[in-house]
């Protein structure tokens, strides 16, 4: 950016000389600086001198200040000029300890920038934002350029509006316009228009306000960013213009689906849901969107209807819901929304079948595609150089034959003694061997052999790389790992269930025995049992109600059926009494501990499953990428090898 070093000295409207200090930040229009010796004040210095109208607007705004406005906005306090008198910027209260609202609404940055902020906090921020906007509207102002970086939030959920010099204000019948705006916060009726020429209204602001509230309550999701089921692109600006609210009751008619993993509009109170529907409906440009005051009232009411999740203390949700939406969302996404770890409640909502469908729906990359060069019908002709080599060698061979045959006519036709003839014939044979050696030496096929060998080695290396990168090997291995994890998950669920059942059965019976043991046959007059029987029973080890079991009674001689029935009836009565008193049964502390451990194990497996799925997607992508970008290279290596092999074959023939 062509930013000249800012002038270190500026002058305010009263002629006081001020010295700029450290740079605090930079925006599109200008930069913000500290002022030396003025800890509570910041100076915004524009890159370009201000127009007279802009300077006048700042003077007017400085005159409009009230204590209330100062509390919620970094309102301009003074006009700044260069020492030469050219207006260049403004002073405003310095806002410290606040962060951009987008750090609050995205789960990822919320975990670090607003640790511990739960949904109650988010609702409070939304309400405070609405209060701030309502105050500006009451003062006849319009924020006009509402957006994600124009609102700061501190750790107490209080908000401050910044960039106030772009607000639209009215003074003495004169309207000072705002010439900027962010499209994703711009109402449908203003989409695509030139802001510099438009008088903005609170109803325009109310659209941007609703978007910002939606972002805050719905985990950073934009109301018009959904999955478009129709054809073509659906940028947010177009979706806004066409009223395609992705979470609305009519979203299907608008061919919009809420993004996967995002909460539904049902997580807010019906009243707030109604406000969103009204704010984002196309008809509201005439009928009017919910005002900032309406939002304040609705959000305040919802604050009183919140409930804490039974599983996670960090989860607060609208009380009208049966289950906790955040547990469900954490289960669906694996993202910790309000704390550093996913809530244990999420495990209860982890839908293994839905998850597994995602694993199985990931297309197997299949074998690496066949090389075009490996078509067996394809014949590779020897290269020109191989053919030239062959021709030259044939010629050399011919010379060799002619040369070695040259003594033969002498041996036949010249009148020589037999020894002489033999000598010439022998010379022919000798010449033949010499010539053949010469031909071999001067026509070495070793070059072709070396070439073929090197090309083969290169091809094999490239092909192995190709198989590793474009083949299904890594995918299969990762998939097998996921299968093993799935088996472990199933097992852990089964184990957990069985454990629960066994523990219940066991604890139930142990507790029952303890209970029944408390009723001695001798001490508690069993109705219908004569005391004379007691010693007999005791001698067979039947002393308390716990001992009264059919098998034991069978072993007592001289105990008739009627007596047995009396005893059994007594025991049954006591059992009924036990069930009535004990309810769930004792030992619930142990139970919880064990259950928590089992849950932790399952959540570990779930985390591993999620990472595994991501890895699998990555591997699949890598394989497809390798196929696109590396196939030509393997084919080239293969082609080179096939050529040199054909050449070698040709020259060896």
């Amino acid at each position: 950016m062509t930013v000249e070093a800012p002038p270190p000295i500026v002058v305010d409207a009263e002629g006081r000389v001020l010295r700029l200090g450290r740079k605090l930040g930079q925006g599109g229009e200008g930069s913000v600086f500290e002022l030396e010796g003025q800890p509570g004040i910041a100076a915004k210095i524009h890159h370009q001198p201000l127009t007279p109208l802009r300077a006048e607007k700042i003077r007017v705004m400085a005159g409009m200040r009230t204590a209330e406005i100062d509390r919620l906005a970094a309102w301009p306090t003074n006009l700044l000029s260069l020492p030469s008198g050219i207006p260049i910027g403004l002073t405003m209260p310095k806002v410290t300890g606040h962060k951009d609202i987008h750090h609050l609404y995205s789960p990822k940055s919320r975990r670090t920038e607003f640790a511990g902020a739960d949904w109650r906090f988010l609702i409070r921020v939304a309400a405070n934002l609405s209060r701030a906007v309502a105050t500006i509207h009451e003062a006849n102002g319009v924020i006009a350029d509402i957006n994600h970086s124009g609102v700061l939030v501190n750790q107490d959920a209080k908000v401050r509006l910044i960039d106030c010099d772009s607000f639209q204000i009215v003074d003495a019948g004169k309207t000072y316009l705002c010439d900027v705006g962010v499209p994703t916060f711009t109402p449908p009726e203003l989409q695509g228009l030139l802001f510099a020429e438009i008088v903005r209204t609170p109803n325009h602001d109310n659209f941007g306000l609703a978007v910002l509230i939606f972002l805050t309550l719905f985990m950073g999701r934009h109301p018009f960013a959904g999955r478009f089921i129709g054809l073509g692109e659906m940028p947010i600006e177009r979706a806004i213009g066409e009223g395609r609210f992705a979470y609305g009751a009519d979203s299907t008619a608008f061919q919009m689906e809420r993004p996967p993993g995002a909460p539904s509009l049902g997580i807010v109170s019906p009243a707030i849901a109604g406000l969103f529907e009204r704010a984002f409906a196309r008809e509201s440009r005439e009928r009017g969107r919910p005002t900032a005051q309406e939002w304040v009232a609705g959000l305040e009411a919802m604050e009183h209807e919140l409930r804490q999740c039974a599983f996670s203390p960090a989860h607060w949700h609208f009380g009208g819901l049966q289950g906790c939406p955040w547990c469900r969302m954490e289960a669906a996404t694996g993202v910790a929304l309000f704390s550093t770890a996913v809530s244990a409640g999420a495990a209860a909502h982890f839908d293994i079948d839905a998850f597994w469908r995602r694993v199985t729906s990931l297309e197997h990359p299949g074998p690496a595609p066949a090389l075009e060069t490996s078509d067996p019908k394809r014949r590779v002709r020897p290269s020109a150089s191989a053919l030239r080599f062959k021709q030259r060698r044939a010629l050399h061979r011919l010379y060799a034959v002619l040369l070695s045959a040259s003594p033969i006519p002498i041996a036949i036709f010249v009148n020589l003694p037999p020894a002489g003839r033999l000598l010439f014939l022998g010379a022919a044979v000798g010449l033949y061997f010499v010539a053949r050696m010469l031909v071999r030496l001067s026509n070495d096929t070793g070059v072709f052999a070396d070439r073929a060998r090197m090309d083969l080695e290169h091809f094999e290396m490239v092909r192995n790389e190709w198989q590793a990168s474009a083949g299904p090997g890594r995918f299969d291995a990762k998939r097998a790992e996921l299968d093993r994890l799935r088996a472990r998950w199933d097992e852990s669920r089964d184990v957990q269930r069985r454990m629960q059942q066994e523990r219940q059965d066991h604890e139930q019976s142990a507790a029952l025995t303890r209970f029944l043991d408390g009723f001695g046959i001798e001490t508690s007059a069993v109705p219908g049992l004569s005391p004379s029987r007691v010693p007999l029973l005791a001698s067979f080890g039947i002393e308390t109600a716990a001992d009264v079991v059919a098998a034991k009674l069978e072993g007592v001689p001289k105990l008739d059926q009627q007596m047995r029935d009396v005893l059994m009836g007594w025991r049954e009565q006591l059992e009924a009494k036990f069930r009535q008193e004990s309810g769930r049964g004792p030992g619930s502390l142990d139970e919880e501990l064990i259950e928590r451990e089992a849950l932790a194990e399952r959540m570990r497996i779930e985390a591993a499953l999620r990472t595994g799925l991501q890895d699998l997607q990555e591997i699949q992508k890598q394989a497809l990428f390798a196929r696109i970008s590396n196939k030509a290279k393997v084919e080239e290596a293969h082609r080179a090898y096939l050529q040199s092999a054909a050449d070698l074959k040709a020259v060896n023939r």
Partner: protein, 220 residues
């Protein structure tokens, strides 16, 4: 709306960070001729790039870096936000299969856009940044045609940067925008520029045209 309505499984990175995305793909030449000074400067430039982006919290959530090297073609890292991006230490080796790298890179961009759409994530027009010091050793005509098509349909913006002895004539035929020549080995300046350009794009509205800063690192 029913309160029992199921929440479908979604990609966790987008649930965690639903900000609009501004993808930037780097196609980096790592052929033999880059070995030594150029590759060292490039590596330094990449870590400066990461640092520069880290100073802008909004860019940290919106910009996504993908990295493909060629010589040979390799997908070093798929699109991810700068906080996840670990600048690699690249080494020079091999030839310059630029055509294959571009083809692979364009496919990556296509798939990433698909992922944004499926997950309801708004996105800016992707940037593709090719940096090379040579001439392609493979067929690049197909890649050039794809780039032309993508630029016309506003599917992405493709920038080519030549280093040292790069064949600027071929780069002119490959890219629709005029390729730029890096002054000396000023990779550092290039990546600082790239970072602040991406910052201003990610501050703008999706679909808004952002005037580019003059590239101070380019030789005219």
């Amino acid at each position: 709306m029913s309160e029992f309505e199921q929440i479908p499984f979604g990609s966790s990175e987008f649930a965690d960070n639903p900000e609009p995305r501004c993808p930037c793909l780097l196609l980096l030449d790592t052929s033999e001729s880059m070995e030594g000074g150029p590759i060292n400067e490039l590596n330094r430039g990449l870590s400066v790039f990461r640092q520069a982006l880290a100073s802008d919290p909004l860019a940290m959530k919106r910009v996504e870096i993908g990295l493909v090297t060629f010589g040979p073609v390799q997908l070093v890292s798929d699109f991810q936000t700068p906080d996840q991006f670990a600048p690699p230490v690249l080494q020079g080796a091999g030839d310059t299969p630029m055509g294959a790298a571009i083809a692979g890179g364009l496919e990556m961009v296509r798939q990433r856009k698909q992922a944004y759409k499926v997950n309801g994530i708004p996105y800016y027009r992707p940037w593709i940044f090719l940096i090379t010091d040579g001439a392609p050793t493979d067929d690049w005509r197909g890649a050039a045609a794809m780039i032309k098509e993508g630029e016309t349909s506003k599917g992405f913006s493709f920038f080519a940067v030549g280093v040292q002895h790069a064949d600027m004539d071929i780069l002119r035929q490959i890219a629709v925008r005029t390729p730029l020549k890096l002054a000396g080995l000023q990779f550092r300046d290039l990546f600082v520029w790239l970072s602040s350009s991406l910052s201003s794009v990610s501050r703008s509205g999706v679909g808004q045209e952002v005037p580019l800063l003059p590239p101070g690192w380019a030789r005219v």
